[in-house]
């Protein structure tokens, strides 16, 4: 069991392994644990630092620079600027997500079979899903942990006749601290830094933190290892290098970084690496209620509206501390501050969509994304549905995060939002769950890697993160990434 802090390595260094794993998020940590348990010598490289619950003080101002890549400001640019927050720490984005664990929708598997030749993938993944669900204790949020805002949403869904339910999460010991996005202070959420990474270490893997993979080394069309720069906790290079010699390399740096690494390594041949970026564009809709509800109590993302899943729309509970709530209220100045003073009477809910648009990650890391009209219309409908639900829950005012529709006060305003012209740039939008930038397919004509995660362009290089997903999986992808990584690792171990 070995954790090495890269910044403490005083000279250029070399390690040998059977498998080098890049990244410790939902993909890398699972692959590392499975491979180490199967007896492989595994070295895991992670750019960020290894922090645990005791390091998390629940204060966004301190935690965002500590845990988020580029302070959470990384964004896709095209016909809108869309921030896509991801993690930069051991555990990756699992450390800062809400712990939501869904299997991919049947409609996604059907599309992957139809368009990418991934026949019977759902059945093949079922045992891996079950294995992961058991490993991280996936269970629906218990009723007592629903926040007051979520209870109102649940009641509104019942009134509207919408299909909805408590969200399955990986947080068996959760007591509703309500700051999942800033690292769980109680380590209740089974993010990979408290689940799979310790398992990998116990099975003999070596973890090097502060190691930024620069390129995958190859010879004669096969992987020979990974070259990395060592960095301090703030991400500054120390000037020292690390080389891991390994005949197998598992790339799991996330869908925004994996294609960059593959491109820098000369492994982007075939025309699919870095392309086909999918995201879940999202808008946080806020509402003012008549009475104090203290929506910060309980699990902030605990309720899921599945009624519109067939349309590619999913609505999820979402409430944030004042620091992140305030920017989503319209305006500036005293009027904004007065509105914010009623924070205890506010709730919020998230509108997310599965996109049909495709973006691109360039070799220099820039993310381009042009949101198609159909997705703009779908997002507008998702926002309007949330607004309708919040009015049904008793909202006096709804703040939908859409330009020219800053405040909705009832049915007429909602109808204007539903009927008005809206462009992508009109939304106060974020996006989550980047996917698809090294997508899997039955053949090289349709994807970058095969269904076992093996890169078509080079022997011994495997992808095991959200880059694999050929399109949106229709829900939060964490569990699907973990199941795919399980399967990729099992294939490598049995090879």
């Amino acid at each position: 069991m070995s954790v090495v802090r890269g910044a403490a390595i005083a000279a250029d260094h070399e390690l040998a392994a059977d498998v080098a794993v890049i990244g410790t998020g939902a993909g890398g940590a699972v692959a590392a644990a499975e491979l180490a348990a199967a007896g492989a010598r595994v070295v895991v490289l992670e750019e960020g630092a290894y922090r645990r619950g005791a390091d998390f003080d629940a204060r966004p101002l301190a935690m965002v620079p500590l845990l988020y890549r580029d302070n959470g400001l990384q964004a896709a640019v095209g016909n809108a600027v869309i921030p896509i927050p991801t993690g930069r720490c051991v555990g990756g984005t699992t450390t800062i997500n809400s712990g939501t664990c869904y299997r991919a929708l049947d409609t996604a598997f059907a599309k992957w079979e139809r368009e990418f030749g991934l026949v019977d993938l759902a059945q093949e993944l079922a045992p891996a899903y079950a294995r992961v669900e058991a490993a991280i204790s996936v269970a629906p949020v218990p009723e007592p942990l629903l926040g007051n805002g979520e209870r109102l949403a649940a009641e509104a869904c019942r009134r509207l006749g919408w299909r909805a339910a408590a969200i399955p999460r990986n947080a068996a010991g959760c007591r509703g601290t309500g700051v999942c996005a800033f690292g769980c202070p109680r380590d209740a959420k089974q993010a990979t830094h408290v689940s799979y990474v310790p398992r990998a270490l116990e099975a003999g893997a070596t973890l090097v933190t502060g190691a930024r993979a620069l390129r995958i080394e190859t010879e004669g069309g096969a992987a020979t290892g990974v070259a990395a720069a060592l960095v301090d906790d703030a991400g500054r290079r120390t000037g020292k290098r690390l080389r891991v010699r390994a005949g197998r390399v598992v790339v799991a740096a996330g869908a925004l970084a994996t294609p960059v690494l593959l491109a820098r390594s000369g492994l982007a041949r075939g025309g699919h690496v870095g392309r086909h970026l999918h995201i879940h564009p999202a808008v946080r809709v806020l509402a003012l209620l008549e009475e104090r509800i203290a929506a910060w109590e309980g699990v902030p993302q605990a309720w899921h509206v599945a009624e519109f899943e067939r349309e590619g729309i999913f609505l999820q509970g979402q409430f944030t501390p004042p620091t992140l709530h305030a920017p989503n209220l319209p305006g500036f100045g005293l009027a904004h501050k007065e509105r914010m003073a009623a924070y205890a009477r506010m709730t919020s809910f998230g509108a997310l969509i599965s996109d049909a648009s495709e973006g691109r990650v360039l070799a220099n890391g820039a993310v381009l994304y042009w949101m198609r009209r159909a997705d703009v219309a779908k997002l507008r409908r998702a926002v309007a549905l949330v607004a309708r639900m919040l009015f049904a829950a008793g909202a006096l005012e709804v703040y939908p995060g859409v330009r020219r529709h800053a405040v909705l006060r009832g049915a007429a305003d909602l109808a204007a939002l539903e009927a008005g012209r809206v462009r992508a740039a009109d939304f106060d939008m974020m996006a989550f769950h980047p996917m698809g930038t090294a997508r899997m397919a039955a053949d090289a004509a349709r994807g970058a890697v095969g269904r076992d995660g093996a890169l078509f362009a080079c022997r011994g290089v495997h992808v095991a993160d959200a880059s694999l997903l050929p399109s949106s999986c229709g829900v939060n992808p964490q569990l699907t990434i973990m199941a795919l990584a399980t399967r990729v690792a099992q294939r490598i171990a049995s090879a």
Partner: protein, 134 residues
């Protein structure tokens, strides 16, 4: 934590923008122009590697000459109500780059101001680790 270095003029623009974002009043303590908030904003920008803060502030300062609501004074010299109106005009602009830039500023300013424990207390928001101990 290190901070972004600003010239005295740039620091004045930042303070004017922070005050317009969250002025004093509404029953909540202080404003975003308070020293600790300004320091937190500069530190956050430094840790994000946003070295162009000074240039962005200078652009904001001349924006009243360039975009509606047009004014014949620099942003930092405008009365508070006009500064608020100008930030709101940027926020609701049809030009998304302008809108995105002011939204990024809003996020950092509000992140820094509403992180103050006295502000949280005034909002009735209990510290998560007090409400649910580790």
């Amino acid at each position: 934590m290190s901070e972004i270095r600003l010239s005295p003029g740039e620091a004045a623009i930042l303070r004017a923008a922070l005050e317009a974002a969250v002025p004093a009043g509404a029953g909540l303590p202080g404003s975003a122009a308070d020293d600790e908030v300004e320091r937190a904003v500069r530190a956050f920008c430094a840790s994000a590697g946003f070295s162009a803060l000074g240039a962005a502030l200078r652009l904001l300062d001349v924006s009243p000459f360039l975009v509606p609501p047009l004014r014949l004074r620099r942003f930092s010299k405008l009365p508070l109500a006009d500064r608020v109106a100008l930030l709101e005009a940027h926020e609701s602009s049809a030009f998304f780059a302008r809108r995105a830039a002011v939204h990024a500023f809003k996020q950092v300013a509000m992140l820094a101001y509403y992180a103050r424990p006295d502000v949280e207390a005034a909002l009735g928001y209990p510290s998560p680790l007090v409400r649910v101990p580790r």
